[in-house]
Structures are given as structure tokens and as C-alpha cells.
């Protein structure tokens, strides 16, 4: 495929006379995409994983008569109402941005990747419909009936992840079209779903979603236990999401490893940046930390041979060095390397944390009694988000300078609208406000639940009974 694309490269390169000149819209578009995608991906994790996690407690509550579990399902459902709402709107932002920020990409390849987006939209449609039913079914529907609303949500979370990741996999390994005389022809819109990368990338992200959501929810109850709230409610609230996070954290290194092996074949420049391999060494060392300053690696700890073992599954196969790649095709190496190793480091830490818990449990010790373990779980929540972001930075920045690998450079996808800086400023303000709003609302929800209020009072006006005792416009709803 890529060989047939070679003529395109020259055509496109000559189109952008003096390819070095960056369009005015490039840098703000990059920052904008990083901000909005980085923000949305956290919420997407909850959208993907939370229905499944809720389904477990709801099932226990509805079919096993465990009222405590049903209460957890109800509360997590309310939390998901807030998270899904801001996830839905931030996802819409991305839909618009594909066209607004990258007219070159969508104008040229919109019909190549369009189906994947269409099916993702379908998945989101199903999830939104059943979310509406699930949330409003409390008190209006038999919990056993209500349980089945969660199933399509969980399934569409999976399919949505697959379809959106198929677009990203396509950007890494483009398929389904030919370029003839600079025109995109012979489009096969179904090829996006069968490209070589898609299954591994999907699995990697799907597991990541369960790590983020699982650790985040578990951390809330770990924090509660640290404050002395050691009841069954907190234990169950911890165990279910932690079990999901455990499975995901233990599988993730294997999936990540397989994905890494593919990168050696498909995107050598990315792998070289991951591994900080400036030159081809056989066997390659594993470089822990370190940055490139003036073409030299500084401050890394090198473990001989391990680089070849991990990245190539071999004692001798080298990691292809960056020196074999033309400078104009190299990604920014330091960012990619550090982001990649941050992800790996945190992922390894997760393996230790979950193994410690289940290992201790197997030997009859309950680490939930251990304050240091609880603190570690609380730390896992933000760390999982850091690892998620680091992983996306590693793969996205590592693909640069290409937006569609080997076919279209990011400079060609961007527009020349320098006004996008205003957009970035406005987005920063709005997203900050949305974050503050979400934190405020979720914290107040938790506080009211701790105070024993289950159904929140109507926030739209003072309670009718308060009319006599409080002056109009009293500041609190109670």
C-alpha cells in the first residue's frame, strides 16, 4: 500500500511549496485538539466502563436482593448522569473540530473514514437512549427490568470504542484508498475496520477505560475508608471497581507489548522515539529516562539487551535508530520518549498494587486495613489519568509529522486561520469552568449522601414548607 502512495508524497510536497512554512492554523489547532481530546478521553473512559461496572452492582441488587448493591448502582448512575452529559458535549466539540481544525484531513479523507464515525455515532445513539431510560427508571420500573437497560449501554460502549479507535488506527496505518495523480480514488470505506492495527489499539484503549474508571471509583471508597468509614457499603464500593481495574491492569502489559511489536514494523520512527534510539544498536539497550540534548542522550539509565527483548521479542534484533529516518520525518523525540515511559512506569506500578492486594488476600491478609495501601489506591486514580494522557501523547506525537501516516503531513491538514488562538483561549476558559462545575456538583452529591439524603431536594426553588421560616431568595435549597 505504502509503495503505491510514494508518488503522492512528491505531489503533495510540491503542492505545499516550501513545506517548511507552517500554516497559521497549525499550532493553535494542535493545542486545541490536545486540550479537547485530552479532556474528553477521560470522560469517554467513564462512558465506556461505568455501565459495565454499574451493571455488576445493579445485578447483585436486582437479582440477589442485595439492597446495598442497588444503592451503589443508583448513586453511580447519578454520577454517570453528570459525567455522560459533559462527555456528550465534549464529544460533540470533537466532531465539529475535525472539520474546523483539520479541513485538509476531512475534506480529503472524510469519505474514507466516514463510516467509522457513522458507526461510532450509532453506538453513542444507543448508549444515550438507554442511559436516559436507565436514569429515569428509578422508582418507575422494576429493577430487574431496569437492569437490561445497562446491557445495550455496555455493548455500545465497546462498539463505540472500537469504531473511534479504528479511525485512529487508520491514521497510523492508512488503508482503503489509492492515490492516483494526487487524487484519492478506489475508496473502500469498510477497510478501516480491518486494518492491521485496529484490534490491538481497541483492546489497549478498552482496558485503559476500565483502569481509569475502575481506579477512580475504587479511590473514592478507599478515601472514605481512610476517613474511618469502614462499612460494607464502602467495601463493596471498593471491591467491584477494583476487580475490574485489576483485570485490566494485568492484561494491559501484554496488549501493550503486542502493540509495541507492531510499531517496530509499521512506524520505526515512533519506536525509535519511544526507545530513545538515536542510532541502530544490536542488541538495543532499554533506556530508562533520559533526554536528547544536542543530538546526545543525557541522563538515561541503560539496561543492555532489554530494549531488543521488549521492543522486538528478540535478543539480537535492533531497534531501528532515528539516524535512518530523514530529519523531516522524525517526531519530537523527547516528548514521545518521556510520555511513553511515564505510561509504562505507571502501568507497572498498577500491576504491583493489584498483585499486592490479591496476593495478600490469598495469604489471608486484608490490605484494606492498611492505610498505606489505601493511600496508594487513592493515588492510582490521578495516576491512571496521567498514564492515559501519556499514552495518547506518545502515540499521537510519535506519529508526527504525519496526520495520516506516510500520506498526509499535519501541516497539510491544518487551515491557515490564525484566529484559532482565540478559540483555544475560549475553550480553555469554558473547559476549566466545566471542570470546576463538575467537581463542585459531584462533591456536593457525595456530601449529601453522607448526610443521609438519598433523593436530592428539588434545586429549582426553596422547599414549599420553607416559605414561612426563610426569607425569599434564601441561599440554600434546604
Amino acid at each position: 500500500m505504502l509503495t503505491t502512495l510514494a508518488p503522492l508524497l512528491t505531489t503533495l510536497a510540491s503542492d505545499v511549496a516550501g513545506a517548511a512554512a507552517e500554516p497559521a492554523g497549525l499550532l493553535p489547532a494542535r493545542q486545541q485538539m490536545a486540550l479537547s481530546l485530552g479532556w474528553h478521553i477521560v470522560l469517554a473512559c467513564f462512558g465506556v466502563a461505568l455501565p459495565t461496572i454499574i451493571a455488576v452492582v445493579h445485578w447483585r441488587g436486582a437479582f440477589r436482593g442485595d439492597q446495598g448493591a442497588l444503592l451503589l448502582a443508583k448513586r453511580w448512575g447519578k454520577v454517570s448522569a453528570v459525567l455522560f452529559a459533559i462527555g456528550a458535549v465534549s464529544g460533540t466539540v470533537l466532531g465539529f473540530e475535525m472539520g474546523l481544525l483539520w479541513p485538509g484531513l476531512m475534506g480529503t479523507f472524510g469519505d474514507v473514514v466516514g463510516l467509522a464515525f457513522a458507526f461510532e455515532g450509532l453506538s453513542f445513539f444507543v448508549e444515550a437512549i438507554f442511559l436516559g431510560m436507565y436514569l429515569y427508571a428509578w422508582g418507575r420500573m422494576d429493577p430487574r427490568h431496569q437492569f437490561w437497560m445497562l446491557v445495550p449501554m455496555a455493548v455500545s460502549g465497546i462498539s463505540g470504542t472500537f469504531f473511534i479507535l479504528s479511525v485512529n488506527a487508520w491514521m497510523n496505518a492508512p488503508v482503503g484508498f489509492d492515490i492516483v495523480d494526487g487524487e484519492v480514488v478506489n475508496i473502500d470505506p469498510w477497510a478501516v475496520f480491518t486494518n492491521d492495527q485496529v484490534w490491538m489499539q481497541f483492546l489497549h484503549m478498552w482496558l485503559a477505560a476500565f483502569m481509569v474508571a475502575g481506579f477512580a471509583v475504587a479511590a473514592v471508597y478507599a478515601a472514605g475508608m481512610l476517613r474511618g468509614r469502614r462499612d460494607r457499603h464502602h467495601r463493596l464500593g471498593f471491591m467491584v471497581p477494583f476487580a475490574f481495574a485489576t483485570v485490566a491492569a494485568l492484561m494491559q502489559p501484554f496488549v501493550g507489548h503486542l502493540l509495541g511489536l507492531r510499531v517496530a514494523e509499521t512506524q520505526p520512527a515512533k519506536l525509535a522515539a519511544f526507545e530513545l534510539a538515536l542510532e541502530t544498536e544490536s542488541p538495543s539497550p532499554l533506556r530508562l529516562g533520559g533526554i536528547v540534548v544536542d543530538g546526545e542522550v543525557v541522563g538515561s539509565i541503560d539496561v543492555p539487551v532489554l530494549g531488543s527483548v521488549i521492543a522486538r521479542n528478540s535478543f539480537t534484533e535492533p531497534v531501528q535508530g532515528l539516524d535512518t529516518i530523514p530529519p523531516e520525518d522524525q517526531p519530537p523525540v523527547n516528548v514521545v520518549h518521556l510520555a511513553f515511559q511515564t505510561m509504562i512506569g505507571i502501568g507497572s506500578l498498577f500491576v504491583l498494587v493489584v498483585l499486592a492486594f490479591w496476593g495478600a488476600r490469598w495469604r489471608g491478609r486484608d490490605l484494606l486495613e492498611n492505610r498505606w495501601f489505601l493511600r496508594a489506591v487513592v493515588a492510582c486514580a490521578p495516576l491512571s489519568v496521567v498514564a492515559l494522557q501519556a499514552g495518547w501523547i506518545a502515540t499521537e506525537v510519535g506519529r508526527q509529522p504525519w496526520v495520516v501516516y506516510g500520506v498526509m503531513r499535519t501541516t497539510e491538514a491544518a487551515g491557515d486561520n490564525s484566529g484559532l488562538w482565540w478559540l483555544l483561549g475560549a475553550t480553555t476558559v469554558v473547559y476549566t469552568a466545566m471542570t470546576v462545575g463538575a467537581v463542585l456538583v459531584l462533591r456536593s452529591m457525595a456530601r449529601r449522601w453522607r448526610d443521609g439524603e438519598e433523593d436530592l431536594p428539588s434545586p429549582y426553588g426553596p422547599e414549599p414548607g420553607d416559605a414561612e421560616v426563610e426569607p425569599a431568595g434564601a441561599e440554600t435549597a434546604r
Binding site: G107, G114, M133, Y136, V441, P459
Partner: protein
């Protein structure tokens, strides 16, 4: 009917569904904004929350559906429209973001002060969004988007047709919302609330009707192609909109709310499809036709498969959800 036209028709069905279902959600922002003080407006705001809470996210997906179909089926036209109409699109997007988030935040706000703040943001942004989406439609319908030229990002939509489009969008959204809410209020057993809503909806209906039909006149000079379509091929739809609009007002007067809801939907759907049929065969008026704007045939065929799947997987549960929310059990507050 060619493949391109079929895909365009399905895409426009998405526009219609968004205008009617999503529109009713947006329009409720007007009633929220004008509900009155904390105490006086509490019942109406609670009603609005009940009515749109279960459905707004699903209704919102129609917009995603339209966007995705547009860029998949007609990629160059999509890129051109995004380029020329970046400002109204972004302002609509800002409204969408603020509406969705503040609606969810208000429901679980910690204090009345917070609820008030989120409520104002929710209600205000509910009106901002349809205005700018309507302005976008107006710019396309009046031939302000060209495939190659770089239009000025302001003059492309600061035109009579765009302003009319925006006002028509806001008016129809509010009118629809009123008709839905008044029926919901009665089903929930809140006759007083229904009475208040009935009066306001009648007022909104009169104003909206005036805007829609008076707004046709400037189109003759500002959007001649659309004008020709509206006074020719799409004339029956214009007439249907007129009759259905009048019928809705009459039904509201005699308090036949369930039926008024139906005629209101017909009226608004006719207004919106009047625009769509009126600008045929153009996708971007005076610039590129639906047929010429189409992308790869294989993708259009693939989209048909996606539409088929949507018809099987999405429409039945969506109908179920909408039906559930229309039952009496769901119209009353949960215990």
C-alpha cells in the same frame, strides 16, 4: 432517485429530527428563563427538568448524525461550510456545551445559588444554540458558502437570511417546547402550570408565525434561489406550515393539548423541510449540487448500511424511550 439524493434525504431527515426533537429541548430554555423567581418558577423548572431530562442526550445525537453523514457523504462541501461558517458554528457549539453541562449540573447543584447560576446558563445557551444553527442554515440557503473562495468569516453569515434563519429557529424551538410542555403538565396533573404555559405558548406561536411568514419577504432579494424554491416547488410545504400553525393555535385555545403537539410538529417540520426542498438540487446553494458534492460511491453505499442498522438498532429503542416519557407514570415525579 439517485444514491446521492437518497443519502442527502436521510441526512435531511436527521436535520428534521434534530429540529423537532432537539428543538423542543432547546426551546424549553425560554420557558425556564421566563419562569419567574425561585419560588414562583420552581414548578415550571421541575417540569422542564422532567420533560427533557431523559431525552435530551438522545435527541442531541441527531446533530452528530447529521455532522458525520455530511462529512462522510459530502466531504468537500463539509470542509467548505466549516471554513466559511466557523463563527456561527463555534457559537452554536459553545451553546451546546454550556446547555448540556449546566443542565446536568443544575439538577444536582449544591445550593439554590448554584442552581440559579447553572439555570441561567442553561436557559440562555438553549436559545443561543438554535439561533446560530439557524444562521448557519441561512448562510447555506442564501449561497454564502463557496467551495474554493475564502469568504470573510463575518460577512458569510451576517446577512438578512441568516438573521431570519436564526430567529425562525429560536421561534420554532420555543413554540414546540411550549406545546410539549403544556401537554406534559396536564398529563402530570398540573393544570395551573398548563394554563400558564398555554398562555405563553399562544404568544410565542403568534410571534413565531409572524417571523416565519414575514421573514419570507426579504428572501426574495437576499436569497433568490431559495425564494424561487419556496414559491415554487416547496410552496405546498409553506402552506401546510401555515395551516398546521394556525391549527395549533386553535387547538391550544380550546385546550386540546395532545393534538396541538402533533400539529405543532407538522408545522415546524414543514417549515424546515420547506427550506430543504426549496434549495434543491443544491447542497450549497448556487455553488454545488447534492449530486456533484457527493464523495465516494462505496462510502454512500456504506452509509446506507449504517442507516439500515440505525433503523433497526436505534429507532425502536428511541421510540420506546419517547413513549415511556409520554406515559403518565413517567410524567409524575418519582417518589
Amino acid at each position: 432517485m439517485s444514491l446521492e439524493l437518497v443519502v442527502a434525504a436521510v441526512m435531511f431527515t436527521g436535520v428534521l429530527a434534530y429540529a423537532v426533537l432537539g428543538g423542543a429541548d432547546f426551546g424549553s430554555g425560554f420557558f425556564d428563563l421566563t419562569a419567574g423567581g425561585d419560588r414562583a418558577g420552581a414548578a415550571l423548572r421541575t417540569r422542564i427538568d422532567h420533560s427533557i431530562g431523559p431525552v435530551w442526550e438522545a435527541n442531541h445525537v441527531w446533530l452528530i448524525f447529521v455532522l458525520v453523514t455530511w462529512w462522510s457523504a459530502f466531504p468537500t462541501a463539509f470542509a467548505a461550510a466549516m471554513d466559511a461558517l466557523i463563527l456561527p458554528m463555534l457559537l452554536a457549539l459553545l451553546g451546546i456545551v454550556l446547555r448540556g453541562s449546566s443542565f446536568a449540573f443544575r439538577k444536582y447543584a449544591a445550593t439554590l445559588g448554584q442552581a440559579r447560576f447553572f439555570g441561567v446558563v442553561f436557559a440562555g445557551s438553549s436559545l443561543v444554540t438554535p439561533f446560530f444553527l439557524g444562521a448557519t442554515a441561512g448562510a447555506i440557503a442564501s449561497g454564502r458558502v463557496s467551495l474554493d473562495g475564502r469568504e470573510d468569516v463575518w460577512s458569510s453569515w451576517l446577512t438578512p437570511t441568516s438573521v431570519i434563519g436564526g430567529l425562525v429557529a429560536v421561534g420554532t424551538c420555543v413554540f414546540l417546547a411550549g406545546c410539549f410542555l403544556v401537554a406534559d403538565a396536564r398529563r402530570g396533573g398540573e393544570e395551573d402550570l398548563a394554563e400558564t404555559l398555554r398562555r405563553r405558548t399562544l404568544g410565542v406561536g403568534l410571534v413565531t408565525g409572524l417571523v416565519v411568514f414575514a421573514g419570507l419577504l426579504p428572501l426574495r432579494a437576499d436569497a433568490p434561489t431559495l425564494w424561487d424554491g419556496l414559491t415554487g416547488r416547496a410552496l405546498p410545504l409553506v402552506l401546510v406550515a401555515f395551516v398546521a400553525g394556525l391549527a395549533t393555535l386553535g387547538l391550544l385555545l380550546v385546550r386540546r393539548y395532545a393534538l396541538a403537539r402533533l400539529t405543532a410538529v407538522v408545522a415546524v417540520a414543514s417549515v424546515v423541510s420547506g427550506w430543504g426542498v426549496g434549495q434543491l438540487p443544491w447542497l450549497l446553494v448556487d455553488e454545488v449540487t447534492v449530486v456533484d458534492a457527493a464523495g465516494a460511491t462505496a462510502t454512500l453505499q456504506g452509509l446506507l448500511v449504517a442507516f439500515g442498522l440505525a433503523a433497526v438498532l436505534v429507532l425502536p429503542p428511541l421510540a420506546y424511550l419517547l413513549r415511556l416519557t409520554q406515559t403518565e407514570q413517567w410524567s409524575r415525579a418519582a417518589h
